[in-house]
């Protein structure tokens, strides 16, 4: 995929894709974080009528991604469903589309804080998943572990400043030992990588792999204002 950025983590050669997914060519493994499916209808329950197309929009991108990469394995890093009732609220078309995606690959749902029991959508369910040198989990572990962690949860975004203007973008946060994926869901907002909750997890020399206009840009943390 053009605009993608390769990097290595614990000896695994990975690729940050411009739409926010992580690709591991050697394993033909695709990871996506924080889909937050049915976030729109979750707000609608509270009578905030966000456009009811967020699940369809997220599935559009997932389908295109899976068609392009033909992965052997997909890992959804948790918070795939916005709340415990989200699967019940899925429209019939979206339910069928999601089932088709899950059926044609080896799909693992990692449990997240929004969806502690993501059962019922096919595929496997796990708290974490180890593949070779890497471990996939929803939220990065706070204790000091060997390198090789892939997680989501924080929805990292970064802000660049310069010449009196600023721009922000979703990003991967990568410190050589772990990588935190950006949220993939259409309505998932972002947390600035400099926020203490995220910054304390990362080593001092972390980099962001920012998603801007169809490309992934590697930027040192020191460059962020």
């Amino acid at each position: 995929m053009s605009g993608a950025l390769p990097f290595s983590l614990a000896g695994a050669r990975l690729v940050a894709l411009p739409d926010g997914a992580l690709w591991w060519p050697a394993e033909r493994l695709l990871a996506v974080a924080d889909l937050h499916l049915e976030k729109g209808s979750s707000f609608a329950e509270q009578k905030t009528f966000l456009p009811p197309y967020d699940t369809a929009a997220t599935l559009d991108r997932l389908e295109a991604l899976l068609a392009a990469k033909a992965p052997a394995r997909v890992v959804a890093l948790g918070d795939s469903f916005h709340d415990a009732r989200a699967q019940a609220r899925l429209g019939s078309a979206e339910r069928a589309r999601l089932a088709a995606l899950v059926a044609c690959t080896d799909w693992t749902w990692i449990a997240g804080n929004h969806d502690p029991h993501p059962n019922g959508a096919g595929g496997a369910v796990a708290r974490e998943l180890r593949v070779g040198p890497l471990v996939f989990r929803h939220e990065a572990a706070t204790d000091r572990l060997p390198a090789g962690e892939v997680s989501g949860h924080f929805h990292p975004k970064c802000t660049l400043r310069g010449a009196g203007r600023a721009a922000s973008a979703r990003c991967f946060a990568f410190d050589g030992r772990r990588v935190v994926l950006p949220a993939y869901g259409a309505y998932a907002g972002g947390l600035d990588v400099r926020d203490p909750a995220l910054a304390t997890l990362l080593g001092p020399d972390f980099k962001v792999l920012a998603l801007a206009r169809g490309r992934v840009h590697a930027i040192a943390a020191a460059r962020l204002g």
């Binding site: 966000l50 721009a167 309505y187």
Partner: protein, 810 residues
């Protein structure tokens, strides 16, 4: 009709005791039987008292119980000020009349009491009226209402607040069918539009216009400075010594500027040369409320010699002692200039005195044109526009909060508000459906209804708690996300746009609240700063702080350029500038378009003298650069001022007429608009006003930062999946006349077809100098964000290549 026939003795005696005679229009208004009456009078014409005289006369016998008169003004401060001014005649005549103000600042306990036990005269704002109308008891509160007085109609009609108020008035007419309307307005070009706005059928029926006699004379001059009028810039710093002298020669001067950055800089410069330590203050909308109130109080006491102010001081408040108005920067419109000038010598018999200080040579032309327009009594049109569908959505939700309604009756009521007189039933139904369930084609939310339909067919609020959410989010003013500016951990100086703070790195300096601050860090939602000194501090930029030049004034500027015999009335350096332009190139034609092309350095420039205002020029710049790109002309940037658009690239443009063909408003416009951040910002405002995005939610305060981020995501999804949703229609409708000014651009392109004069020059023309000087001052649109990321990424390339550590970028 004789005075004695309509003015009761008690009132006649009061006028007599003060040595006053009632103005003729004050008598006429008493005698009038019109149900809706628009009083058009210059500032200081006793307009306010005229508006209230019928009420005071009717209330004099003490027989009326409950609310008699509702007064609505666009400014909270005005409501408070009017109460002070009204209480004097009421006390002096011993009238049994209770007058109270009710605004967002009124304590909750008093507001509750006002609904139980209303005063005779209630002074309020459009938002507070909407709030009152949303209560179930609104029908009984307003049942006995006899009069509605709307102040500053000219400032409300044509805005979203005007839309909201027009809908509120239509509602009041249904609750209190007997209540008459009096509108008070400054002199405007299009009285008929205001007449329609005030009328009971939204079409001008039964509305009478009463014009107060005698326009006030104004002595207006352009300030003569020792230094030459500069080529570019807006700050007029060259004229500071003369401005200071003018202040010294006046009792109290109001120094009006166009933008908040200008207010900060002019204030600083004046203090730099303030040898006599004159009490000079600054006033603008971003300063902390307490600071503004302090300045206003000092002004009212006559303790100040000058206030540097933006339009935050524009409206109605009576500063008796002001004897000089200084307008720094271009006036932008004749009506605006007239209203600002009206702030000086607030008495009928004395002429207003005003000095205009152009910031640059084009502004000099604009000042001259504005003086001609004022002398000729020509004003700018407010222009009619259809009311916002987002405002209608808010009103409809409020309507449901008060009590159930039937769609047919409510539709008829809404159409009696002038901005909605031509509202299509389909649009109304879409808004209704939006409020009820979101109104999406995919009817996914039908089970989460906000409105339910009863057996009788009436729509009602599904849950009473929703009324609270409506009340917490009411209002049509949506501020850009703001950040508090805090001095250390101490006091808050005011607010600046988040966008500006995001562009700062710790250690950067900027000017705010009249001082130089060093930015230190963000602490939660506050920007922590310390006082400091700096050679060249930045000045906060504010979105939308600049009004575009009006169409009428632009026509006069073009007329002035095309008429060399009129150049004598310009300053020598400005006249010389135009003479050399005529010699080296040609003057822009009065009704056509001059386009110059010339090489400079390695670049080829195209300068178009459109005079359609900055917003329309920005849009034109985006569209032209797309078209030039396709033609292989490789444009690399453009800059837009109020007068001129300049584009540069690596190849010269030859077929200029083809570039300006009208069809650019088709697909290119659609494609650009969809991606444009202007449309995103407009969508955010529409979504907030319509209630899709809540500013406040019971129990939790959503930070505005989250709102900003969320609206972009929603916009992207909605645009892709339901591009014709009512909120996107409302967004496009807003954008056409707001930040993109597409409507004006369309009129312009139609006007100049077949009248484009192209001059291919071998070097820059005198008239093109100002716009080229703006390059670099104005950020160039479009690729800026890409550049930011790519520049940062490039820097990193070397570092990325070193491959150190166990995880490395390959």
């Amino acid at each position: 009709m004789g005075v004695a026939a309509v003015l009761p003795p008690r009132f006649a005696q009061w006028f007599g005791a003060r040595g006053w005679a009632p103005h003729p229009h004050q008598i006429e208004i008493l005698a009038s039987r019109a149900k809706a009456l628009l009083l058009v009078a210059p500032t200081g014409g006793g307009k306010t008292l005229a508006g209230f005289l019928p009420s005071l006369v009717e209330l004099a016998d003490g027989a009326h119980r409950g609310l008699h008169t509702l007064y609505v003004s666009p400014l909270k401060a005005l409501a408070v000020d009017i109460r002070r001014n009204l209480e004097r005649p009421v006390e002096e005549m011993g009238l049994p009349v209770r007058i109270e103000a009710r605004t967002g600042d009124t304590p909750a306990a008093r507001r509750a009491r006002q609904r139980r036990d209303p005063p005779h005269i209630l002074l309020t704002t459009p938002e507070s009226l909407a709030l009152l109308l949303s209560y179930e008891d609104s029908a009984s509160l307003f049942a006995g209402l006899a009069r509605v007085v709307v102040d500053e109609v000219h400032a409300l009609a044509g805005t979203k607040r005007g839309d909201l108020l027009a809908l509120g008035l239509a509602r009041l007419a249904a609750l209190a069918p007997m209540a008459g309307r009096i509108g008070l307005s400054a002199t405007v070009a299009d009285e008929a539009a205001l007449q329609r706005w005030l009328s009971f059928d939204g079409r001008g029926g039964n509305a009478v216009v009463l014009k107060a006699g005698g326009t006030r004379k104004a002595e207006i001059a352009i300030l003569k400075a020792n230094a030459r009028v500069p080529w570019a810039g807006h700050m007029a710093l060259y004229a500071m010594p003369e401005i200071y002298d003018a202040i010294r020669g006046a009792r109290t001067a109001l120094v009006f500027v166009n933008t908040r950055p200008q207010a900060e800089l002019v204030f600083q410069e004046l203090w730099r040369i303030n040898e006599d330590n004159l009490p000079i203050a600054v006033h603008h909308g971003s300063l902390a409320v307490e600071q503004r109130r302090k300045v206003e109080a000092a002004m009212a006491k006559g303790a100040l010699r000058a206030v540097v102010a933006t339009s935050s001081l524009d409206l109605g408040i009576d500063w008796g002692a002001v004897d000089l108005v200084i307008q720094v920067g271009a006036p932008k419109g004749a009506s605006r200039l007239v209203q600002r000038i009206g702030r000086s010598n607030h008495r009928f018999d004395e002429p207003s005195r005003a000095l205009l200080v152009p910031g640059n040579r084009f502004e000099f032309l604009e000042c001259r044109a504005a003086m001609d327009a004022v002398a000729a009594g020509e004003l700018d049109g407010a222009g009619n526009h259809p009311g916002g569908l987002d405002v209608l959505a808010q009103h409809l939700w409020g309507r449901a909060c008060a009590r159930p309604f039937r769609a047919d009756e409510f539709f008829a009521e809404v159409r009696r508000a002038a901005p909605y007189a031509k509202l299509a039933r389909a649009d109304f139904d879409d808004v209704l459906s939006f409020v009820a369930t979101g109104g999406y084609a995919l009817r996914a939310y039908d089970r989460f209804k906000r409105l339910v339909r009863g057996e009788d067919g009436a729509y009602a609020l599904a849950a009473p708690a929703d009324a609270r959410r409506y009340r917490m989010n009411l209002g049509v003013i949506v501020d850009a996300p703001m950040i508090k500016v805090r001095l250390g951990r101490g006091r808050v100086l005011g607010e600046v746009e988040e966008h500006f703070i995001q562009g700062l790195v710790p250690g950067d300096s900027f000017v705010f609240a009249g001082r130089t601050l060093i930015y230190e860090e963000m602490h939660e939602t506050d920007a922590i700063c310390r006082a400091g000194r700096a050679e060249e501090p930045r000045v906060p930029a504010y979105m939308g702080g600049r009004l575009p030049l009006t169409t009428e004034l632009a026509r006069r500027v073009r007329g002035l350029l095309a008429e060399p015999s009129a150049w004598r009335r310009l300053s020598p350096e400005v006249a010389e500038w135009l003479r050399i332009q005529r010699w080296r190139s040609v003057m822009p034609p009065k009704d056509g378009l001059l386009v110059e092309t010339f090489p400079r350095g390695a670049k080829h420039f195209l300068v178009a003298y459109c005079f359609e205002g900055r917003n329309a020029h920005q849009t034109l710049g985006m569209l032209l650069t797309r078209r030039m790109e396709r033609a292989g002309l490789r444009p690399t940037g453009f800059v837009a001022t109020d007068y001129v658009l300049g584009i540069w690239g690596t190849r010269p443009a030859r077929d200029v007429a083809a570039l300006f063909e009208e069809d650019m408003l088709g697909d290119d416009l659609e494609a650009w608009l969809a991606e444009s951040s202007l449309l995103r910002r407009t969508f955010r405002n529409v979504a907030v006003i319509a209630g899709l995005i809540e500013r406040r939610h019971p129990g939790k305060e959503k930070t505005r930062r989250q709102v900003t981020f969320g609206s972009d995501l929603i916009y992207d999804v909605l645009r892709k999946h339901e591009p014709d949703h009512v909120l996107l229609r409302a967004t496009r409708q807003d954008a056409a006349r707001g930040l993109t000014d597409v409507r004006r651009l369309a009129d312009f392109l139609a006007r100049v077809q077949g009248r484009i004069v192209h001059r291919a020059l071998d070097r820059i023309s005198p008239l093109a100098v100002p716009v080229l000087l703006e390059i670099g001052r104005e950020s160039v649109h479009g690729a800026a964000i890409d550049e930011l990321f790519e520049a940062a990424a490039e820097d990193l390339a070397a570092e990325a290549m070193d491959g150190a550590g166990q995880g490395a970028l390959l």
